[in-house]
């Protein structure tokens, strides 16, 4: 697939930057256009891979933002994007849309910019283009608190109704120990970038001479066509380089190797589904699924892929499971990516909604008594004292 990618807000921009990094490191060419949109001038200085002239500051003339963020306020984030919609539109002037199959908007849902401006950007893209617009969103962890949960619960509704599919990443599931503030979410962003790029870059070379079983962009788009919320599983296994190659030459027919490769592939796919998903979910609640096998083509064993596909049909309780290859001649590992599209049983989203409702009630209760409590604080019990001016 060929994508135009847009990172909105701090988290969205960082994820996009990691995607570009992973592409460069692995010789992929997925993101034909990359654009960062943010409300904080400082954060726009961070990316390493997004070109300087592809970073757009919005809200620098907005009274509540002025180029220094939106204070985590999703409504201000949305308002800023609405106000600067012309500027956002202009940033797509040089995007040659016939070059791309789809658009992808990445954003963190806990802050104010990604969660508020993100849906506005998506609305605009849907108006401008016929190509599908996908969302890639990060859900805040419980420990990030009630306000991010409220932002996320509200923003998720907007994202899911506006995008053609929403691929979710749950910070809570990926929260790790022993990380420093400097490392921050980098490791998580790298994990996410690996998954999304490996998945979507499959079938990126639409040349005719590649294997018949190669994944095609249209297969991926068909799987995503369900709408809703999706999750990605991933597993990789290092290839034992020269020794393996030597074995293959010796074996000639390569029958033995093929059998072990088949088992290996099925095992890899099972591992991808059963290990940590980007959004933990009940696999059987998926509407459609797709398997991409990425690595040196000589390791693709047809039997293995087919039996893995059948296994996933059972697991996901759907007959709509596609599988395909993503030949990467120079890869040093064999990777399996599984897309579970439109998963509907996701405990984490329920938790975020509960946390959000609590947060909203608390904020409302505080606002109701605010003026009264301040007045009570600054006046004496019998109201004998007057203000000086």
């Amino acid at each position: 697939m060929k994508l135009a990618t847009i990172g909105v807000g701090n988290a969205g921009t960082k994820i996009l930057d990691r995607m570009l990094e992973f592409e460069e490191e692995t010789g992929r060419n997925l993101c034909r256009h990359a654009l960062a949109i943010n409300t904080a001038r400082t954060d726009l200085a961070k990316p390493d891979y997004i070109p300087e002239n592809r970073r757009v500051l919005i809200g620098d003339t907005h009274q509540e933002s002025k180029g220094h963020g939106v204070g985590g306020d999703v409504d201000v984030g949305a308002d800023v994007a609405q106000t600067d919609i012309e500027e956002i539109r202009r940033a797509f002037d040089d995007v040659e849309i016939h070059d791309v199959d789809a658009l992808l908007v990445s954003a963190g849902l806990g802050g104010g910019t990604g969660s508020g401006a993100g849906p506005v950007v998506i609305d605009e893209l849907q108006k401008m283009y016929d190509e599908p617009v996908y969302g890639l969103g990060v859900l805040p962890g419980e420990y990030e608190g009630g306000r991010p949960a409220l932002n996320a619960a509200r923003s998720l509704q907007s994202f899911v109704t506006k995008v053609d599919n929403f691929i979710a990443f749950d910070n809570d599931a990926w929260r790790a120990r022993d990380q420093t503030i400097e490392e921050g979410y980098d490791e998580m962003n790298q994990e996410l970038a690996t998954r999304i790029v490996t998945l979507l870059a499959a079938g990126e070379q639409d040349e005719t001479d590649i294997a018949e079983n190669a994944m095609d962009s249209s297969d991926i788009m068909r799987t995503l066509d369900t709408g809703g919320v999706s999750s990605i599983g991933y597993a990789a296994s290092a290839l034992d380089g020269q020794e393996g190659l030597l074995n293959k030459f010796r074996n000639g027919e390569n029958v033995e190797g093929d059998a072990s490769d088949a088992a290996k592939i099925k095992g890899l796919v099972r591992r991808a589904v059963n290990s940590r998903l980007t959004l933990p979910c009940e696999v059987s609640s998926a509407d459609r699924a797709l398997i991409v096998l990425s690595g040196p083509p000589e390791h693709f064993a047809r039997k293995g892929v087919e039996s893995a596909r059948q296994w996933l049909e059972q697991e996901a309780d759907t007959v709509e499971v596609l599988a395909g290859d993503d030949p990467r001649q120079n890869a040093t590992q064999l990777a399996a990516v599984v897309l579970l599209s439109n998963v509907t049983d996701t405990p984490r989203i329920d938790e975020i909604q509960d946390q959000a409702v609590d947060a909203q009630n608390k904020i409302q209760a505080q606002e109701e008594v605010r003026d009264e409590e301040i007045a009570e604080l600054i006046t004496d019990d019998d109201d004998e004292l007057d203000p000086v001016v």
Binding site: A45, H68, T180, E376, D380
Partner: protein
């Protein structure tokens, strides 16, 4: 956040001067050199070394009651003088490039005549010239500073809270040593205060620092302060585990790969965040009465545990019982890790209640004898209550020696509505003498409350209300 500094009165001037001194000696630039100091006495400016002379503004120097010698604690007079000088004050505002900063911070002692009386008028002016928020850093007087200061503070606090976008308070009573000379303690108190103000409001303004992972933008600080009301600050630091000596570095190199050693563990960071709230706050308060909070962690980002930060932030959410929390980190190549917390719109503050009680007592005794007794006479008079009011303060008793009880033609006006002394009341001069004895109390002093007959008492009451 970058913020302009406007000091009003002695305490305000000293603190702005201290803020500028620290700023000049640090790698954190927060004021953009936007400063302005207002005072009613020329001599006050001599103490300031870090605010240029062209930013010293003397007001009220033409007013007949001051002539540059100060207000002697009279906030009513302070407010009056400032109102008269508004043209001059607005001209001075031109020196502030408020568009070059995100906000303005007005600093004032709430108990003084200038800080408490002139300050709110200047705040009103600042609000009218800028769209950016104007915050107040207010100093609450210690008990030993006297009851008049408590009275001034209770009244000016009302005006400040009404007019400011947020009022951050520092309580001298909490921070000063009992019995010590307060003047001698000011420098140390100011350092404690300045450290906290800079850590909270100056977050993100370190020069040449790497960009924070989770940055606190000025918009975040503004949101946290946007509740209005009264706020308190907490601050704590911890030493780094990282060996800083050359030997330490060598040892660290020898046990290389042992990165675990270098990460300041989660528990330590969480404890540090807890310490910001549990240690002495600038204004002691019930933490769970805060409406909003902001937390920042400043230190070398390669050694601070992110999990510890998240856990500490979550703890703060539970402790403050609010979800309105803004949290971020600030990379700082320092030998300490510092955590600071802003508790915004705290509403359970025993110290403010205490100041109000003292203020009411002071008012009943010194300011509105006539007013209070007027009400009493109009409604049901409880003689014992009136008597109590007159005798419960030795200070009061001394001032009023030979007052109403004497029927022998004593010329002092009576604070009680008894006809005898009303007859005996002298002119304005006599009344003023009495008022002066109460150390320049505001508003209902002799020059206004001429005589003590009922009519003029009503007039006084009206004037007090008019001045709102």
């Amino acid at each position: 956040m970058k913020f302009a500094l406007v000091g009003v009165g002695g305490a305000g001037g000293r603190i702005v001067d201290a803020l500028r001194k620290v700023e000049q000696n640090s790698d954190r630039a927060f004021s953009n050199e936007q400063t302005l100091l207002f005072d009613t006495t020329q001599s006050a400016f001599e103490a300031y070394d870090h605010v240029p002379a062209d930013r010293h503004v003397l007001i009220g120097d033409t007013h007949p009651d001051i002539r540059g010698t100060g207000l002697d604690g009279d906030i009513e007079l302070g407010a009056e003088v400032a109102e008269e000088d508004t043209d001059e004050i607005y001209r001075e505002f031109d020196k502030l490039a408020t568009h070059s900063v995100h906000a303005t911070l007005l600093v004032a002692g709430l108990g003084g005549g200038t800080g408490g009386g002139v300050g709110p008028v200047i705040l009103e002016g600042l609000q009218s010239i800028t769209d950016n928020p104007v915050y107040v850093l207010g100093i609450l007087p210690a008990d030993i500073e006297g009851d008049q200061q408590a009275y001034n503070a209770a009244r000016s606090l009302q005006s400040y809270v009404d007019l400011a976008d947020n009022v951050i308070l520092f309580d001298n009573e909490e921070w000063a040593d009992d019995g010590g000379d307060l003047d001698a303690q000011y420098p140390q108190l100011n350092i404690e205060l300045v450290t906290r103000i800079i850590a909270v409001l100056g977050v993100g303004e370190l020069e040449d620092a790497p960009i924070a992972e989770t940055m606190l933008d000025p918009s975040d600080t503004m949101k946290a302060l946007d509740s209005g009301g009264v706020s308190s600050l907490g601050y704590a630091t911890t030493e780094l585990d990282r060996p800083d000596s050359l030997l330490g570095k060598l040892l660290a190199m020898l046990r290389s790969n042992d990165t675990e050693q270098e990460i300041t563990d989660a528990a330590k960071i969480k404890d540090l965040i807890q310490a910001t709230v549990d240690s002495k706050l600038t204004l002691p308060c019930s933490v769970d009465s805060a409406e909003r909070a902001m937390l920042s962690l400043s230190g070398p980002p390669d050694v601070c545990s992110r999990k510890g930060f998240e856990t500490g932030r979550y703890w703060l959410e539970k402790e403050t019982d609010t979800v309105q929390i803004w949290a971020g980190d600030e990379p700082h190549d320092a030998s300490l890790i510092a955590a600071s917390v802003l508790l915004s719109n705290v509403t359970d503050v025993p110290r403010i209640d205490e100041i109000q009680r003292r203020a009411v007592a002071y008012k009943r005794e010194h300011v509105e004898d006539s007013d209070a007794s007027d009400e009493l006479s109009a409604e049901t008079v409880d003689p014992s209550e009136t008597a109590e009011q007159q005798t419960d303060s030795p200070d009061d008793a001394a001032t009023r020696a030979g007052e109403p009880a004497d029927d022998d033609g004593e010329e002092t006006p009576s604070p009680t509505p008894d006809g005898d002394s009303a007859e005996a009341s002298g002119g304005g001069d006599t009344a003023k003498t009495t008022a002066d004895g109460d150390s320049a109390e505001p508003s209902a002093d002799g020059e206004r409350a001429v005589g003590s007959d009922t009519e003029s008492r009503v007039g006084t009451e009206e004037r007090i209300q008019d001045s709102e």
